[in-house]
């Protein structure tokens, strides 16, 4: 009976972690449900009692209080409670009260335990700690990520020219000459147009030279006969699996009539997957002039999308993308110097914000400046004005568009001497005001990408040193961070704003990423830690004992989780040819992802609270 208990089944099916189970299993669970109703104010479970049920809120909302006192959690539709008591043998620690008229589904404890033992997703989900849940979420996203390998066919990977082949009767010496002339490492041996064997550089070493085989013998005697082949429409994943299983790096690819089409090498697969990032890096570094640089830089978004599809982890994608961005900045400075002549005094090109932290995605505008040696004179300043303008213009053409806030080397206030920068930071730190802090936080994520790195480093150390001692400044930073609206509501629901087209969205950058960056930056500055990257900062904080290891790990996981979602979102936009943004519609996420997101938000809220408690109180 297809329609049986359809209301219950569809509700459970949309709910994590039950949504991961197959339809029959869900139907069986639905039959074990008991439906109960509570009026607002009713006690559902009392602390100290014994419980043998998993409760799921179907409508209404409930409140959990530890030992009936301290508020632990509020749950709305879809929230589950009382499973910790099932995990610890029935002892109830929270008193649960209905806040509104509430309908709950109860599942017997034995069914709950059976589900946990049958299904990893269920076990991971019903974990006592939020931290554990996020960690399993990051793992989960990575596993689920549709990998390019699964979809790309061998045909798409083949960039090589026609395979080089010979008859089996050809002598080893002639075959080796052929390989050398045609510059291939693999030779196909064909008889009447059909593949009978392959011969590689490695075979030449092992079976000919090392075995002291007579070079006049026919190639047939030393080739690998009847090699494993794949049809041209096989996937890259199959090819990789075959290589891994067989321990070889070359696979002949056959056409539909069995004819040899190409020889696929491991390098072809690597090149397709990730090395486009390396290729782009090479193109950037070697760009002979502005046009070549712009052309190379314009490939970055595509490489970014491909890294995402290739299953790269968020931290690697961010690092690669930042590395490419950095290379573009460096090359832009070199090209500008080439046009304007050598600089009159030493200087460094500084970057601020995401590029400095090594957390850049695509579509970022430029945030940079120049630090000059104090000995610069007026004509020297004119040189740097021209240099800064040229760099900013080049970067804009390269896709690092002009900064709306004017944080770029073409503006005079962004071209300062070492002492002037020091004074500028000194003013921010000594006389913070809300408006200034708002615009200045990214200056505290700083790095030199070109020029006199030691000078930039000294400036950074100076800044970190100044910030560390200033309680007033830190309290401004801590309070500024509180402006972030983490979209987690009273009932652990997502509180979302509507985008222009009316969809409910959250801003992954402003509402999740920036708060973590702020938390890490503020605590790191308070501790005088020189680290700039968010993950680096969190790790340094944990190592310094300034932040509990578990808290640091949770923030890091929350950061990575949202970063992965954000990267997928932007990569999809790049693939669709639209401008990348940060407006993610939770409706586009799976129920499980939404749940993990809630965990991430709750970790971020906790971090902001801790920041407030620890540092925001510096003002009398």
């Amino acid at each position: 009976m297809a329609s049986e208990l359809s209301e219950i089944r569809s509700f459970l099916g949309d709910l994590s972690p039950f949504g991961r189970l197959d339809a029959d299993r869900i139907a069986a669970i639905a039959r074990r449900v008991t439906v109960r109703y509570f009026r607002a104010g009713d006690t559902i479970l009392e602390a100290g009692s014994h419980n043998d049920l998993l409760f799921i809120v179907r409508s209404g909302s409930v409140e959990l209080r530890l030992a009936g006192e301290e508020l632990t959690m509020r749950l709305g539709r879809g929230g589950s409670f009382a499973f910790p008591s099932l995990l610890r043998g029935g002892e109830v620690r929270n008193t649960t009260t209905a806040l509104e008229d509430t309908l709950v589904y109860c599942l017997p404890g034995e069914e709950f335990h059976r589900l946990r033992s049958e299904c990893d997703a269920v076990r991971d989900y019903f974990n006592e700690s939020e931290t554990e849940r996020i960690r399993s979420a990051v793992r989960d996203l990575r596993l689920k990520r549709p990998s390019t390998l699964q979809h790309a066919t061998i045909e798409q990977l083949l960039v090589h020219k026609q395979p080089v082949s010979c008859e089996p009767g050809l002598s080893i010496a002639d075959a080796a000459t052929l390989m050398s002339e045609r510059d291939v490492s693999t030779l196909a041996i064909c008889e009447d147009g059909r593949l009978v064997g392959i011969f590689t550089d490695k075979d030449l070493r092992k079976r000919v030279v090392a075995a002291r085989t007579d070079f006049d013998r026919p190639i047939r005697e030393v080739m690998t006969a009847a090699p494993r082949t794949l049809p041209r429409h096989a996937t890259a994943a199959e090819a990789m699996a075959l290589m891994a299983a067989g321990g070889f790096r070359h696979i002949p690819v056959l056409g539909s009539a069995g004819e040899l089409v190409a020889i696929l090498s491991a390098t072809d697969i690597l090149a397709y997957l990730g090395d486009s990032a390396i290729d782009t890096g090479m193109l950037v570094a070697k760009a002979a002039g502005p046009q070549a640089l712009v052309a190379a830089a314009r490939q970055i978004p595509e490489g970014f999308a491909r890294m995402d599809a290739g299953g790269f982890h968020a931290e690697h994608t961010m690092r690669f993308t930042s590395a490419l961005g950095e290379a573009v900045h460096r090359r832009a400075a070199e090209l500008a110097e080439a046009e304007l002549g050598p600089p009159p005094v030493p200087y460094a090109l500084l970057v601020f914000g995401s590029l400095a932290r090594g957390e850049q995605l695509v579509g970022s505008d430029q945030d940079n400046g120049i630090v000059m040696d104090d000995r610069v004179d007026e004509s020297g300043r004119e040189y740097f004005a021209a240099l800064g303008a040229r760099i900013s213009d080049l970067l804009d053409e390269c896709g690092f568009v002009y900064c709306k806030g004017g944080i770029m080397a073409k503006n005079a206030e962004q071209r300062l001497t070492r002492s002037e920068w020091s004074e500028r930071y000194g003013r921010w730190i000594a006389n913070p005001d809300e408006d200034r802090i708002l615009r200045a936080t990214i200056y505290f994520d700083m790095r030199a990408v070109y020029g006199d790195a030691a000078m930039a480093q000294a400036l950074h150390e100076d800044v970190v040193d100044k910030a560390r001692g200033s309680g007033l400044f830190l309290s401004f930073l801590a309070r500024d961070a509180q402006r972030s609206k983490v979209p987690l509501g009273f009932f652990r629901n997502l509180v979302l704003e509507k985008s222009e087209d009316g969809k409910k969205v959250f801003d992954a950058k402003a509402q999740a990423i920036l708060p973590v960056i702020d938390i890490a930056r503020t605590f790191a500055l308070a501790e005088g830690l020189p680290a700039v990257g968010t993950i680096e900062r969190l790790e340094a904080l944990a190592a310094a004992g300034r932040m509990a290891r578990g808290d640091a790990e949770s923030l890091k996981d929350a950061f990575l989780l949202v970063s992965e979602l954000r990267i997928s979102h932007q990569a999809a936009q790049v693939r669709a040819g639209t401008a990348p943004d940060n407006a993610i519609a939770p409706a586009a996420l799976s129920p499980l992802e939404r749940d993990y997101l809630k965990d991430a938000f709750s970790v971020i809220s906790g971090g902001l609270d801790s920041l407030k408690r620890n540092l925001a109180g510096g003002i009398a």
């Binding site: 449900v33 109960r36 109703y37 008229d101």
Partner: protein
């Protein structure tokens, strides 16, 4: 009191049924039928819904859904949903409403095979439905047709109960099942599936029972 008269009539019909030649009906008559004084919270209930092929007095039954419960909770393990065989050309309007096409109606079970487990399930229980008059009427008509005797049924009508709990609402819309459920913060269900509707009525009674005095008697909520 009407309550007493209705009960006297019910018991008299049960007594007559007890002399039936059919085991199923005698078992029904001899079930443990609670007194009117029993607190509602202790009463055994059965939410029932029929999907019909129209609104006519002789409308055919296409589907029956039921589940046993009490006001403490609804255990779904005994929930039943059965399609009933009908050779009649279906009323087009009704087909659109509950999506049971002629083909499916032909594949269902004969009415008698559906009524037998239903009569057993209803033994000693009080029928619960929103607008219970229809379910009671259909049971009487179909049992008379199949077994030669109309089954006496005790019922709680959640619609009637709602008119007592919220007497001053304007218009009949306000008493429709979905609207009433929304007032009690119960979730919106797709209607016109017999079991879903039965579950919807059962949940509604749980909510309504929480608005009655804790010691409300069964007799005080039976439909007249």
């Amino acid at each position: 009191m009407l309550e007493r008269i209705a009960d006297w009539r019910f018991r008299r019909r049960l007594a007559a049924l007890g002399k039936s030649g059919q085991e199923l009906l005698r078992a029904y008559a001899g079930a443990n039928w609670p007194a009117l004084e029993l607190p509602l919270r202790e009463a055994a209930l059965l939410a029932l819904d029929f999907e019909l092929d129209g609104l006519a007095r002789d409308a055919h039954v296409l589907q029956a859904g039921w589940l046993a419960f009490d006001t403490g909770g609804i255990a779904l393990d005994g929930a039943m949903s059965l399609d009933i065989r009908s050779a009649r050309r279906l009323d087009d309007g009704a087909v659109t409403v509950h999506g049971i096409g002629e083909e499916r109606a032909r594949e269902g079970q004969p009415l008698r095979q559906v009524l037998e487990p239903l009569v057993s399930a209803l033994s000693g229980r009080v029928l619960v439905a929103h607008g219970a008059a229809i379910e009671v009427e259909v049971i009487e008509r179909t049992t008379r047709a199949c077994f030669g005797e109309a089954l006496p049924v005790r019922a709680i009508c959640t619609l009637e109960l709602e008119r007592r709990l919220h007497p001053n609402l304007v218009g009949s819309e306000a008493y429709r099942l979905a609207a009433v459920r929304a007032r009690y913060n119960l979730p919106a269900y797709d209607q016109h599936d017999a079991l879903s509707d039965a579950l919807a009525a059962a949940e509604l009674l749980l909510a309504q029972a929480r608005r009655l005095p804790a010691d409300a008697r069964l007799g005080s909520v039976l439909r007249g």
